[in-house]
Assembly symmetry: C2
Homo-oligomer: 879 residues x 2
């Protein structure tokens, strides 16, 4: 027997969401609950996949089921397709597993043709209604299904109004509309080379195919990528008997939520319009009334609806978003689904549902999307102020939050202004590591170039600073310190702008912002999350400020403290540069001695912020050329400052040039060639730990991490330097202190030989940023050139730098975790790439048994909740 591809509403239920889509499964569930649902059927998502597999055709076995379901639908509704007496009209809607706005528009009134229209006229006693419905249907079908431009139909309609000398559609009479229908059909014939289909079954089949096709339209693809929806889910198609809310004053239509989706407050929330169809509510020509007003208009219907709403919320144990239509005094439910809600509402609803005894804590946790929390952690614009504002440009929403301030065009100007107490927006063509201080000082960052993974975007997200990147709408002239917009408006240094890193919009004046509010519900959810999760959550933090921020958000340690950002500091970079241009070990050691006290102070501050929580400090990682200037002018200035011949400095910079800096002289390779750098850093780490431990009377056990290891011997060489230095410091200070030495696993070879690596490494931290670059063989900086094409051509469905590629990179991670544990059963395993803050990647980390994930401070709450989700899902799967 053939597989079942088509289900009557009465044959299915809510658990069949993957097969029938959300809408279809819920229509079936409501049918099962005995609620008033216009009957119909759903063509499954598997039929959609078959459609593509079969070269965009619908196979015979599916067609057969389709016609059978259609026949039953006619029977149930006691109407017949194309029947001159009692014609069946249906709506056709797409319906994926999750709601997807990018997809096909709904088609209403399908089934109308030259004959059925007369039946409708007769049945409703309303000729005008019938022909108006027909002309609307022709237009909708032609547009949505056949792709004929809507404007061409509007033109005909406008022509008809002009001929009649009227202004509104409603002023056209039945005859006018009959003429319009004739002209519409003529247009269709001209465009398609054949008559408008009169056979309702043919109409329906075309509509179903159009829904399937819409699954792969560009909007849908983009939406899926943004929301991590796999392309192979497919969409279902719902075919449902029409009911009419526009059959007079005893008819109407509306939408409602069982709770307020903005605040989560428990009250029926929504609106309705009498004598209207769904599209009228959306179109906004007439102003809908609040749902509570329905009580006065149609008290019985209202009470019935309130009962249904309660039934549905109790049944689904979640806030419901419902659509209904009243046809001649009778209520029909057209849709119900778990309602979308703001982050704040999500928290309140989850906490309330537990209080009401409807959900367990674990169930409630699953009702809150981890990613949603982000919105609560950053400042936002004052809602009233932003409602009135008009953006002057749009870039990429690179790092969430809202910021307002005066614009400055260089990092040092930004720092000076911030120190003078100004609110600062740093505006740059693109940022580089040299800008780091300015980025720290700024409330927000705006760049004209660079994508979602540009330096500006990555660093800003790490700092939790709002950032709009790649804003091609603005032109920056750095030497004039101006930026101008496409309409020619010029902004000078010190002018106010506002930027929204959650939307990418840029505003040309000061818009008030509101700080993040972490409500009581937030704390409750976090507390529940902490109760169930088993993954520890650490943070990536390089400064005491970041560390404190992360602790405030619940971090349980530092998983990655980079030691290079510190050297870009204006005070330090001279010593760093002196080290780099040194000609021999002695000179280098002298320069490093200058850096030692500063570096030690960094660690002191971090230990003080973290107390006894674990801190993983990574040795110097970037290639040395990053610390030297590249512009002729700056090189000249530096040569003068350092009192070395310009040519010599240029030669040094030329020698440090790399063809592929990603694959160059960096990470532990620096420590192999210049052991004295690792010596200085180890000394600073251990001395600071001993001192803070003594002063605060606490126990500190630093974790020293060696980056970019690819071979056990390489690791051992650097580890020996660290251990030797540490033991020397311990002897000098006469104080015993424990410490761990471990490694990043970020080079494929390290993952492949993790069993060997683990003989020396006491912990692994997966650096999935670099591991992703090397495993895929493309760099973040360069992939922007072709990734867009890859998305458009459906080669990739998501950004592997944002969401861990479990199939490829994940395979290496899993392999390394297993090999590592085989050698050293108690090896500590964590992840410190950007993926450490991404929910699906966190679930993966949980599943393969890592000990912790580490992410930027602002991602810590997200990670805590995601880790809880992972633990709960694991429990559920085991049941």
């Amino acid at each position: 027997m053939s597989k079942k591809y088509v289900y009557l509403f009465s044959e299915a239920n809510a658990s069949m969401r993957n097969l029938l889509g959300g809408k279809g499964a819920n229509l079936a569930e409501m049918t099962g609950l005995g609620l008033p649902v216009p009957q119909g059927f759903t063509v499954s998502t598997e039929a959609c996949n078959r459609y593509y597999e079969d070269g965009k055709t619908i196979a015979d076995d599916i067609l057969e089921q389709f016609y059978e379901a259609l026949a039953k639908t006619e029977e149930i509704n006691e109407k017949k397709f194309g029947d001159p007496e009692n014609p069946l009209l249906v709506s056709v809607r797409s319906g994926a597993r999750v709601s997807m706005p990018g997809m096909m528009d709904t088609i209403l009134n399908l089934g109308l043709n030259d004959i059925a229209v007369k039946g409708v006229a007769r049945l409703t006693g309303n000729d005008r209604f019938a022909y108006d419905s027909y002309r609307r249907f022709i237009q909708m079908f032609s547009d949505v299904v056949m792709g004929i431009a809507k404007a061409k139909f509007e033109e005909i309609l406008d022509g008809a109004k002009k001929e009649r000398g009227v202004k509104h559609d409603t002023e056209l009479n039945t005859d006018d509309l009959k003429t319009v229908v004739q002209r519409y059909k003529a247009l269709y014939l001209a465009e398609q080379g054949k008559e408008f289909p009169q056979d309702p079954k043919a109409q329906l089949l075309e509509a179903v195919k159009a829904v399937f096709r819409s699954w792969d339209n560009p909007r849908a693809i983009v939406y899926r990528r943004m929301n991590d929806i796999p392309g192979d889910w497919g969409t279902a198609v719902n075919v449902q008997a029409m009911v009419f809310g526009n059959m007079g004053n005893d008819s109407g239509t509306g939408v409602a939520f069982t709770r307020d989706p903005s605040t989560g407050e428990k009250r029926l929330y929504g609106e309705f319009l009498m004598n209207a169809q769904g599209e009228d509510v959306v179109a906004g020509i007439r102003t809908p009334k609040a749902i509570s007003d329905l009580q006065d208009t149609m008290p019985e219907v209202y009470n019935q609806f309130v009962d249904i709403a309660k039934t549905l919320e109790d049944h689904y144990r979640d806030m419901q978003d419902m659509e209904f239509t009243i046809e001649k005094g009778k209520l029909y439910m057209l849709q119900t689904r778990n309602g979308k809600r703001t982050a704040a509402a999500a928290l309140k609803i989850a906490v309330d549902l537990v209080a009401e005894g409807k959900l367990s804590k674990e169930e409630a946790l699953l009702k809150v999307e981890p990613k949603q929390l982000d919105a609560l952690l950053h400042p936002t614009f004052d809602p009233k102020a932003i409602a009135a504002a008009k953006p002057i440009a749009k870039g990429l929403a690179a790092s969430p939050g809202a910021a307002c301030g005066k614009i400055y065009f260089t990092a040092s100007d930004a720092v000076a202004a911030a120190e003078a107490g100004e609110q600062v927006i740093l505006v740059r063509l693109e940022t580089s590591p040299e800008d780091i201080e300015g980025m720290y000082a700024a409330n927000g960052i705006l760049t004209a170039r660079g994508g979602m993974t540009s330096h500006a975007a990555v660093v800003a997200r790490g700092m939790g600073t709002c950032c709009v990147s790649g804003c091609g709408d603005i032109m920056i002239v750095e030497k004039h310190k101006t930026m101008s917009t496409t309409d020619g408006k010029v902004f000078h240094e010190g002018d106010y702008i506002s930027i929204d890193g959650s939307t990418g919009y840029v505003y040309g004046d000061a818009i008030a912002t509101e700080p993040a509010k972490l409500t009581g519900d937030f704390g409750t959810i976090m507390e529940w999350a902490d109760e169930v999760r088993t993954l520890k959550i650490r943070t990536n933090a390089d400064t005491p400020k970041d560390a404190s921020q992360a602790i405030h958000f619940g971090a349980e340690g530092i998983g990655l403290c980079r030691t290079e950002h510190m050297f870009f500091d204006e005070e330090r970079i001279p010593a760093m540069r002196e080290m780099i241009v040194s000609k021999n070990r002695d000179q280098r050691v002298r320069a490093l001695l200058k850096l030692l006290p500063m570096q030690k102070k960094d660690f002191t501050g971090i230990y003080e912020a973290m107390g006894e929580l674990p801190v993983t400090i990574r040795l110097l990682d970037p290639p040395l050329h990053e610390f030297l200037p590249q512009e002729e002018e700056d090189i000249k200035a530096l040569a003068k400052e350092m009192i070395i011949p310009l040519e010599e400095l240029k030669q040094t910079i030329a020698n440090l040039h790399e063809f592929n800096p990603m694959l160059g002289h960096r990470g532990c390779r620096l420590a192999v060639t210049y052991p004295e750098i690792a010596e200085m850093q180890s000394r600073a780490i251990i001395e600071a730990a001993i001192e803070v431990a003594a002063e605060k009377k606490i126990s500190i056990k630093p974790e020293i991490m060696i980056p970019l290891v690819g071979d056990i011997k390489e690791l051992k060489y650097v580890k020996d330097i660290i251990v030797k230095t540490a033991e020397q410091v311990i002897q000098e200070k006469g104080v015993k202190i424990d410490y761990l030495v471990g490694t990043m696993i970020e080079v494929p070879r390290a993952a492949l030989t993790a069993d060997e690596i683990a003989t020396e490494a006491e912990f692994f931290s997966f650096g999935t940023n670099d591991l992703t670059q090397m495993t895929f063989g493309f760099s973040r900086d360069d992939a922007g050139k072709f990734l867009e094409d890859y998305y458009n051509k459906k080669v990739y469905e998501s950004d592997p730098f944002a969401k861990l590629d479990q199939n490829g990179v994940g395979k290496l991670v899993r392999m390394a975790a297993e090999l590592g544990r085989k050698t050293r059963s108690n090896i500590k395993l964590g992840i410190c790439g950007e993926h450490g803050g991404e929910p699906s990647s966190i679930k993966f980390c949980h599943d393969i048994g890592l000990n912790y994930v580490s992410c930027s401070p602002f991602r810590v709450p997200i990670a805590r909740l995601a880790a809880a989700h992972a633990a709960i899902e694991e429990k559920k799967a085991k049941k």
Copy 2:
């Protein structure tokens, strides 16, 4: 019981080479054969490893065995260490598994002290001999064991000669030598802060430790790296009773081979000196006599030696290299080993030994080192001419062979000169892909910059053209078209130089060269190799010329035909550039249409050269910016030529700039963004195949290879383009033709997901160059900066770009091969990285069951022999 670390010669045999080193094992074997060997013992290589593990000390359990063996040695030789009457003197020699010139010098006469010297004087009746031996021993011990500069001792000796007014050491009498001994001991005391050790056991222990230490001296490390000798093999130490060849005219010493090591001719070959020690033969002060003369001098000894030589060769079934000493008319054998030989000799000896019935063919094949063959495949200098020549500079021996010609400084000058019939040496600072034509035209290539894996080196090796790279001794001024040497001599365009790519030497004039001679023995060995090997050998060839060369060397197909070199051709690059600066698909297609006939012609030539042998053609791989100029001047010229605004061209070039070109927009990524490129290439491949097949009435089945694939969807996208185009061509031509579509496996992710990839790929070709870069996370171009440090610090023992890293990269290759076969059991597997011509990597490919290796034409014979070795070794292992 403790492990055995020390073996008397009489306790061991030749099979213990790994434990006792080559020298020790053979001394034991000769002892077992009843040959006259001065007796002693060997401290094992495991003792050497223990020495390092135990923090450079000799553990007590080893010491105990050592003293026991020493006691037995005294017993056997009936002499005692430090005995005033009958003192035992010994030699101490290092001895690794394979002979290693980089290691410790021999110490002779150990055991001499103030007392023993008198015993020696008495026993030999030769005071002068005794004290001369003593002063030599002090000097040798101080130098070799304690590291006191030899020159300081020479100074004392010179002083003594001056005092006595004599010129030669031999003119000093016994008293003079006693004074010298006193002064030597005083020098030792001053340098070491303690007396010269009088206890022979202490002397011996120090000497043993010095041998162990010498295993890790820089010379030895470099030698090991050059010869692929693992650091953990360790060295053994041989302690052997001294015999003296300098005890009068009935004494002597010599070395001999059982066959001529230059030609392989079967005759005793060697030399000897009467009344001399081994070092005198080496020192070259006296001219040794041919070994045949010994027949006249000491006929009995000669006959005994001839017998022994025959016994040894028959026993070892290989040409022997022997050392002997005659002490007072008695012959002693000090060493035997399989003799080193030239490539030509190796072939002749192997073939002769089979003819003599001593070896099977398979055994004979194992006697020839595959790498050695290289020397036979390239032109060499005329031996007489080169003997007289003095080099003017030295660079890296980047690609073997000798070349002589007039120098030209640009690729186009080189091409013009070659077309005019000149012999050309292309001299460049460094080469880039734009130079490819000039490189083809040249007899040899000389660059001032760039390492063994620079563009020049890699391309030259691929072409089999002699190349000296990174020659810092020459200064090139391109605009003057001159090069000068360190001593100021200036060479102008058109001047003659000669270069030796096998040694790195550059000569300032024309030296005659001789073409490669592939003798009959070569053919015989190749034939035998082909009989046993199971791996197919293909070649990497981009031109009909290379393809013919490779077939001449026995290639069985093309494993990699790159399609980009072709576009650097002067005639074609304009169309290529037009394609790159195109603004849309139409423009690109127009430019590609110009390239199509040229590309088709390339393939026609290659198919014609290869006949029915398989040809794998790789689609365009390099990033497009490689085809555009980078210098301001060239950009201007191009803008003018192409009639596009300079700024626009500059913008195009800037847009194509990549931070990490290795990890950028290249390989199949080009085909994803510009499918029309793949379309053009596929069309050219199929059309050419159809035409050549028809014309030559043969069957051609092209293998189309997609580079840089990381994901199955990426592969499928490009494969679909290829298949669609191919089917279209087939339909147009009305001719059926078979073809395969496969992929490079060169991105780690492709290897990790090879099971998925194999659902679409009909063959895999491992691109181990890129796979090595990405697996290790460093690029060939940049690794030069730190690899030297890595070798020096023993982090790496060999260059992973030359020798496949079996532990890491190899793990990926093995995994991919297994996964690939799991999905598609008959999938064709090959390798086309540079490793495809390296013997140990070829063995790995054989072991994991690849179908073929592909290497540059000049490596094909090496690969054939290496593949035979692998097959024979596998058989042996199975026994």
